[in-house]
Amino acid sequence: MTQPALELESVTFSYPDGTAVLDGIDLRVEHGERVALLGPNGAGKTTLLLHLIGILGGGGGSIRVAGEKLDESSLHGIRRRVGLVFQDPDDQLFMSTVYEDVAFGPTNFGVEDVESAVFDALTAVGMRDAADRAPHHLSGGERRRVALATVLACRPDILVLDEPSSNLDPAGRRELAEVLDSLDTTLLLVTHDLPYALQLCERAVVMNKGRIVASGPTGQILGDPIVMAENRLELPYGFTPGTSRS
């Protein structure tokens, strides 16, 4: 039997003051599946993402990546296999040139032939010519794509993105969607941008108050007025989810 790409069982987490952020999360993502994680601000989505790579943890429950349990000994390997793209590219791009930044992960993970890993990743996001530029000289859209490349260069099995379309202009948003659509990795996408979720992900999972409250085909979730209203989800004016991918 093949293991799922990602499997969470009763993952819980509380702040030191006792506020529960994750209240028993069960989630299963199959290989090659694209899942949108939706929910209001404060639902615990970003906290959940930080659990997937063991930056937060210790609250209880278990996380398995392709069957391997996330613990101290598997942490380094799992961080390579789960590529997390942070919400603010300025947090993600911390080296002085694009090349160094994209090479940071592959070097740490001991990827063979770092240089071709870097240029393959930059080519995949259409930023090959920017290798020698400084991150702070790039536009917002370029920075977002380089941030994606820093993770792609580690050759992850699962790509996890936190609000990838925020602060992008419409063309930058579309270009990023094209890049993401061209990848065949498993995808977990946290977003408030519901049309983006519909465009890229066949399944949507809704989180609220630290729990998963709904899961199903994205078009179906977006078309369910009760789920939408209960979780502060709203479609843009004039938008109807007529064409679901699946």
Binding site: D91, F94, Y99, A103, F104, F109, H137, L138, C154
Partner: protein
Amino acid sequence: MSGSHVHALTVHGHSPLHRLPARVKLVALGLFVVAVVATPRHQLWAFAVYALLVTMVLVVAELPAKFVLKRMGLEVPFVAFALFLPFVGGAPRITAWGLMLSIEGIWAAWNIIAKATLGTAASIVVIATTETPHILRGLGQLRLPPTMVAVAGFMVRYLEVVGDEVRRMRIAMAARGYQPTWLGQAKALAVAGGALFIRSYERGERVHQAMLARGFTGAMPDLIDDHADRSDWAVALSVPLSAWLVAALAVAA
């Protein structure tokens, strides 16, 4: 935002100085500065030779004079301080242009201005012909502790990010009617400074998370390959070694 900025510190070029490895230039700079500082201040001829050496290097580096002069502005505070010395120094004094000037003060001012100018000009040559990542890497090769190199790298990377945050905060303050006056601005600025510190601290935490996410285990990867061969060292060290010779003669004289 910062999209259109050019790198203010480096002048792009292909001069022999641009091609030298960073650590070679850093060693040469250090040795040159030591020679200048060690030279007795009354040996005027020695400083003339140093000035000639620096000018030659500036010409070889093909740096625009306007750029160099602008960057030299860095030393203005030191010069301003030095210019006080002739007025506050002790006896004996001389009278020039109707002013009573201390001879000792004039020598002290000359000493500061001459050495600071030579050191600043030499530093500008190195910084203007070396990309910042290469300087950092060179410092690492010269056995500066990796943590300090990494901290310097982050400072360069986030200077503009934090600078943008300061600009946005100032605009937000101005937009709500804040009109700074000399005394009145103190409290608001202190509050803004505190907020900026918290924001920068939190960004530091997020950056650290992003580093951990990509497998950071405590050591920064070593990526730039800049091999230095003997001819590089010979070319670069010719300038500071000439300066050392001059300094030795000046001390002996």
